[in-house]
């Protein structure tokens, strides 16, 4: 009986194989909803099926290093340059950008809204010891947050119980922050598309230090011979084409643009 059922399922499961590219992307690329409109367009324009592995930047780089994906799309410049310098990727191509924002309870007990810089806003959160949720997963957002803490001169290891490292993706971390009424650093796109905002609101944005660039890196096919370099090049060319510009610029939530094409 189980055999019969299995046979039936296998016949259902066998589908024609199109040319596929495996792309490891940061959680924000998917949590923002951009991938849902971009992938069908890529399929229509180039015939490529892009298989997304949604992970943090740290894990994406690790997957690229092992050759388990064909290319990566991440947002942590220093780590990316290191990756390319080590020869794991061929080059780094800047695709789009937006910014990070400080999210927190609408009542804003730490008075983040009236600060001038991102570092200053973290400082007042530390001073009031209001709960703060950190990604803690070595992702691009987490790296950015650590850099900001460094700018304040405070060591994250020395922060008290109010500093909570959850070790999760952007969405899961936002859920935790919503439950705790805590402050959190998020990329703008994930925040806008997030469905469980509760008492949270965007409190601080606009500091140049919060700039967030996304870049595409093909995995080095000299190291990983199974990588389909030609398909990856097709994908890269699409990502910097006018078609991509239209998709990225046209993707809005409540009238707000989430990403800007290219690099400033």
């Amino acid at each position: 009986m189980i055999r019969l059922l299995f046979a039936a399922l296998m016949t259902l499961a066998t589908t024609a194989q199109a040319e596929t590219v495996r792309l490891a992307v940061t959680t924000s690329f998917q949590n923002s909803g951009l991938s849902d409109v971009m992938l069908p367009q890529i399929k229509a324009d180039t015939g490529l099926v892009v298989e997304l592995l949604v992970v943090g930047t740290g894990q994406a780089l690790r997957l690229g290093e092992a050759g388990d994906v064909d290319a990566i799309l991440v947002h942590s410049k220093a780590a990316e340059e290191e990756f390319v310098a080590a020869g794991f990727g061929t080059h780094r191509r800047e695709i789009m950008y937006n910014d990070f924002v400080v999210i927190g309870p609408a009542s804003d007990p730490a008075d983040v809204t009236n600060q001038q810089t991102a570092a200053a806003s973290l400082k007042v959160i530390a001073a009031t010891q209001a709960p703060f949720v950190s990604r803690g997963d070595n992702s691009g957002t987490h790296k950015k947050e650590r850099a900001l803490w460094q700018a304040t001169g405070l060591l994250t290891e020395d922060l008290g119980d109010w500093y909570k490292e959850v070790g999760a993706g952007m969405g899961a971390a936002l859920n935790t922050a919503a439950g705790l009424d805590a402050y959190i650093l998020s990329d703008r796109a994930s925040w806008l598309n997030f469905g469980n905002k509760r008492e949270l609101a965007m409190l601080f944005a606009g500091d140049p230090a919060l700039f967030n660039q996304y870049a595409f890196i093909p995995v080095n096919s000299a190291l990983q011979p199974h990588v389909n370099a030609q398909a990856v090049a097709t994908l890269e060319n699409w990502l910097v084409s006018d078609a991509a510009r239209a998709v990225i610029a046209g993707y809005t939530i409540n009238g707000e643009t989430l990403f800007t094409f290219g690099a400033p």
Partner: protein, 234 residues
């Protein structure tokens, strides 16, 4: 409470409208977990029975190890299978990572000890009953195993269904080795994790109810098809 009602409503609409994505991931869930169940049963049922009838030196240790492995953390299994199947791992050339096959491998590893352990418990008692008869008939080991498996099929069904339950609801391992790729390796549990991450609790809960309904349906189907709990049948 409103979230739960919204979840129920969302589950209802997903099922009523036969949402194409839902059908796709549900069938994949079934395909992966039923295949894993089949393979794990083929290994675990004879092995558990063999453990019940054979006396050998490390039997106690084997049984203790098997019982301990019932609690094998799926995320660790996932990580180990990932490292083995990764392009930089020993089986990388097979290119199995991020495919349903990788997910099946991980689930087989997770549920085989569970099925074998429950099988062993059930078969030990049956063997106590059958011991004298089967010994006196001078049966071979293989004949004894077959007899016990056939006569103990109802207990074994329970063992298998417990394995299926663990497989279909498992998320830690298949998230790592499958990668939750849309249209390729996304199953119900990983889709629920994804929707929760997006903060779309209604859809996540809706998928959860579909998963629970599916587990019930499979259990009922197997009971009906194997005609247990019927009058005149054991």
């Amino acid at each position: 409470m409103t979230d739960i009602w919204a979840g129920l409503a969302s589950a209802f609409w997903l099922v009523v409208s036969l949402d194409a994505d839902l059908v796709d991931i549900t069938l994949r869930s079934l395909q992966v977990s039923l295949t894993a169940l089949l393979i794990a049963s083929l290994i675990a049922l004879p092995f558990g029975t063999w453990l019940a009838i054979r006396r050998f030196r490390f039997r106690r240790a084997t049984i203790a190890a098997l019982n301990a492995l019932m609690g094998l953390p799926p995320v660790v299994v996932g990580l180990i299978v990932y490292l083995l199947l990764s392009r930089s791992g020993p089986f990388g050339v097979l290119g199995l990572l991020f495919t349903p096959t990788a997910m099946i491998i991980a689930q087989v590893i997770i549920i085989t000890p569970l099925i074998a352990s429950i099988t062993h418990q059930a078969m030990r008692e049956l063997w106590a009953e059958y011991h004298d008869l089967l010994i006196s008939l001078n049966t071979s080991n293989w004949q004894r195993i077959r007899t016990l498996i056939f006569d103990g099929r109802r207990a074994l069904l329970t063992a298998s269904l417990a394995g299926f339950g663990r497989a279909i609801g498992e998320v830690g391992a298949i998230m790592i080795v499958g990668g939750n790729i849309d249209q390729a390796t996304r199953v119900l549990t990983t889709a629920i994790a994804l929707e929760t991450g997006k903060g779309d609790f209604a859809l996540a809960l809706g998928l959860g109810f579909v998963l629970i309904a599916l587990a019930l349906l499979v259990n009922f189907a197997i009971h009906v098809l194997s005609r247990t709990e019927r009058e005149g049948r054991w």
